[in-house]
């Protein structure tokens, strides 16, 4: 086993295997909103998750993270664009989809109630496998193995317990074990530690890293916690109002953010050591995405005249900087950031 300080996939370019496990291209998910206005929850996203890679998807509440995550797992059908698994577009016919869902697992946060209070740990973990394989003779062995992979050791001690007999961290591990028993290739974890104590949170994050290091598991971790991304992710995608507005390696994006939105998010972290740029107002509404740059009405760079000074203010108000390609190079969907980069 590798110590967390020496990850299996450090910064040198890994021998590029056969492309992404899971990818989205030109993805749009639009919901019929109240009063007939359509909510463009995901509004043109390209994203890739490669084998053995942990990608963090961050952004404020309502920006479309969960919708994008669900679309990647085939749980929501895109309005346009596509999701591909190993380069093949998802097939939404039930048999194909079922096979895909064995390989790509959703992990929800437990306190949101994904465990049934009347099911034992054994049943909770075995359940997903029964849906796919029925009750096989090796079930007990597989349940025990999944539990110990999730760090619940010795597994016999937990098999017959009920959720209320476990701590918050242990319940989250049971949820993860329920995904691991299917031997997935990729997991999508939606806020896996959001309501856990800091002390427990670190333990669960270490588990996710170890699963990547030991079993090559790829993961998309959905969160609004930038610290979590810094703790475990390789790459990060910052989402704002249905779009990925900045992407790159975690070091690139979090140490040298380019997009004014990413900069603002980082500035309000406790201990950020800089003047916080608290954006006024509420997270914006996907039924009314502004024209031009979708961030322009809240953008501190535009408001302070720096965009004007760089000669891009007019474009900020009228021209959509466009979606970012999934290629992986660090990039920000911002006229000002591009002008800065071009101007040296």
């Amino acid at each position: 086993m590798t110590a967390p300080a020496a990850p299996a996939a450090p910064d040198q370019p890994a021998p590029e295997p056969a492309g992404p496990v899971l990818s989205a291209s030109g993805l749009h998910v639009t919901f019929a909103g109240r009063g007939g206005r359509a909510a463009r929850a995901v509004d043109g996203v390209d994203l890739e998750i490669r084998p053995g890679e942990i990608v963090a998807l961050v952004g404020e509440s309502g920006c479309g993270k969960s919708t994008l995550a669900r679309a990647l797992l085939g749980l929501v059908r895109p309005t346009s664009g596509q999701v591909a698994y190993h380069g093949r577009p998802l097939d939404y016919r039930s048999r194909e989809l079922k096979r895909f869902r064995e390989r790509a697992q959703l992990v929800l946060q437990d306190p949101s109630g994904s465990l049934n209070p009347r099911h034992t740990v054994y049943d909770a973990v075995a359940e997903g496998r029964r849906i796919h394989n029925g009750a096989t003779p090796d079930e007990q062995e597989r349940v025990a193995e999944a539990l110990s992979r999730a760090g619940l050791r010795p597994p016999e001690r937990f098999l017959l317990r009920y959720p209320h007999e476990l701590s918050g961290g242990q319940r989250q591990r049971v949820v993860i074990a329920g995904a691991l028993i299917l031997d997935p290739e990729v997991i999508v974890a939606d806020e896996p530690v959001a309501s856990l104590d800091a002390s427990v949170r670190g333990e669960i994050l270490r588990l996710l890293m170890r699963l990547r290091d030991d079993f090559g598991l790829a993961a998309l971790v959905v969160t609004h916690d930038l610290g979590l991304a810094w703790n475990i992710a390789d790459r990060i995608a910052v989402m704002y109002l249905g779009r990925v507005v900045e992407t790159g390696t975690v070091e690139e994006v979090l140490s040298a953010p380019r997009h004014p939105y990413t900069r603002a998010l980082l500035s309000v972290l406790p201990e950020a050591g800089q003047e916080p740029q608290v954006l006024a107002g509420e997270p914006p509404d996907p039924t009314r995405i502004p024209g031009g740059c979708r961030f322009h009405a809240r953008c501190p760079v535009l408001a302070s005249g720096r965009a004007e000074a760089a000669g891009v203010a007019e474009r900020c108000r009228t021209e959509d900087p466009g979606p970012l390609p999934a290629g992986g190079a660090a990039d920000a969907a911002c006229h000002w950031a591009r002008a800065q980069a071009a101007g040296g």
Binding site: A3, P4, D197
Partner: protein, 379 residues
């Protein structure tokens, strides 16, 4: 003079399974115009302390100690006086309160109620006051006519704070005021709280399980573990350099974005939170403590002095002379007693050491587990 002084507060809940000692001897004070943050993991007793201050605990709770508000003991107050204090002396923003606004009444009417009832205002005066309060918390006055479902989470939390301010209290207790809010909204609310406290003379008790939020907002910090304050001091100092191994672990568990030391190195604290009904002998943190010593099973540490204006409940903060004076056994090695910065990032993810069963390497396991002195807490 402190506006609030809490002395040796104990709370036990009577349950079918016996008594649960949720708060086991907590003392602290808050000066006017300052904020004390209380941190600690789920179940350590934070909300119980908050509720005890205004006698809002259920009947099953047995409370002792003193809660002095402007010198007057809340625990001994008569009902009439207590009601007055609850409105004008101190008010509380409950944990999860933003979900508890009444769905069928307009927000403005809910804020006006205490003003009408306890402030003896006319309806017109109350309406004016509601407008003022909403603006004070950054909401436009017309929001008074909105129903709760028309507000976002952040806006509802602002409305709750407006309600807490309604009768101009001198102490505000905020239990997890930003938990479950988005980072940006959280920053907005924290800034609001900062502005309200600064220069107003209001004292504030802010509870959160997020130590980093408190470190940023509060003047002083108290860290609770298993119903006790185990560390207390100036906020920055406690967060940057905790003296109690639990305080240190809690603070190390918050990643500093940009800090190479926390890059790809999430840190937690192995083991489970303690069960208040079944605490080990000696120091309650012993089963999870990365710096545990033999004597930790024998001594139930109190909040001992641990530097200028700070305290920590750990035998390691005592010098040899101090230990001798208190009758605490000296450390077996003579390593000077420094606290390790954080638990090493061990590879044990199981994290369930059996309470009380972590033998000392080379120590004498079970050397006195059963004859440990009774904790002095029971009253």
């Amino acid at each position: 003079m402190n506006y609030l002084d809490v002395r040796d507060l104990h709370v036990a809940y009577r349950t079918a399974g016996g008594e649960v000692p949720a708060v086991r001897g907590v003392s602290f004070g808050i000066a006017p115009g300052t904020t004390l943050g209380v941190a600690g993991e789920s179940g350590c007793g934070k909300s119980t302390v908050a509720l005890a201050l205004l006698r809002l605990l259920p009947a099953s709770a047995r409370v002792s100690g003193q809660v002095l508000l402007d010198g007057e003991d809340v625990l001994g107050m008569r009902w009439g006086r207590l009601r007055a204090v609850r409105w004008a002396g101190a008010s509380i923003v409950f944990q999860g309160a933003m979900h508890s606004l009444n769905a069928v009444h307009r927000v403005g009417d809910q804020i006006a109620e205490p003003v009408l009832v306890h402030g003896q205002a006319t309806p017109a005066q109350a309406r004016r006051r509601v407008g003022e309060l909403l603006e004070q918390v950054g909401l436009p006055a017309w929001r008074a006519r909105s129903y709760p479902h028309e507000l976002s989470g952040g806006q509802r939390q602002r409305a709750m704070i407006a309600m807490a301010l309604a009768c101009r209290p001198r102490l505000i207790i905020a239990d997890e005021p930003t938990t479950a809010l988005d980072v940006m909204i959280q920053a907005q609310i924290l800034r609001l709280i900062d502005d309200l406290v600064a220069g107003s003379g209001i004292s504030m008790l802010m509870i959160s399980h997020d130590l980093s939020v408190l470190a940023d907002t509060c003047d002083r910090l108290a860290v609770m573990y298993a119903g006790r304050i185990v560390e207390e001091g100036p906020a920055g100092a406690v967060f940057a350099d905790a003296r109690h191994p639990y305080g240190a672990a809690l603070s190390a568990a918050f990643p500093r974005v940009g800090d190479p030391a926390s890059r790809r190195a999430p840190r937690g604290l192995p083991g489970d939170p303690p069960d208040p009904a079944d605490l080990p002998s000696g120091c309650a943190f012993r089963p999870r403590c990365p710096a545990v010593q033999d004597r930790c099973a024998e001594v139930d540490p109190a909040l001992w002095p641990a530097g200028p204006d700070r305290g920590a409940a750990c035998v390691r903060v005592l010098s040899a002379e101090e230990a001798r004076a208190l009758g605490v056994p000296p450390p077996e090695g003579s390593d000077g007693g420094g606290v390790p910065a954080a638990p090493a990032a061990t590879e044990d993810p199981g994290g369930t050491p059996d309470p009380g069963g972590t033998p000392e390497p080379g120590g004498t396991p079970e050397s006195g587990g059963d004859r440990a002195p009774e904790p002095e807490e029971t009253r």
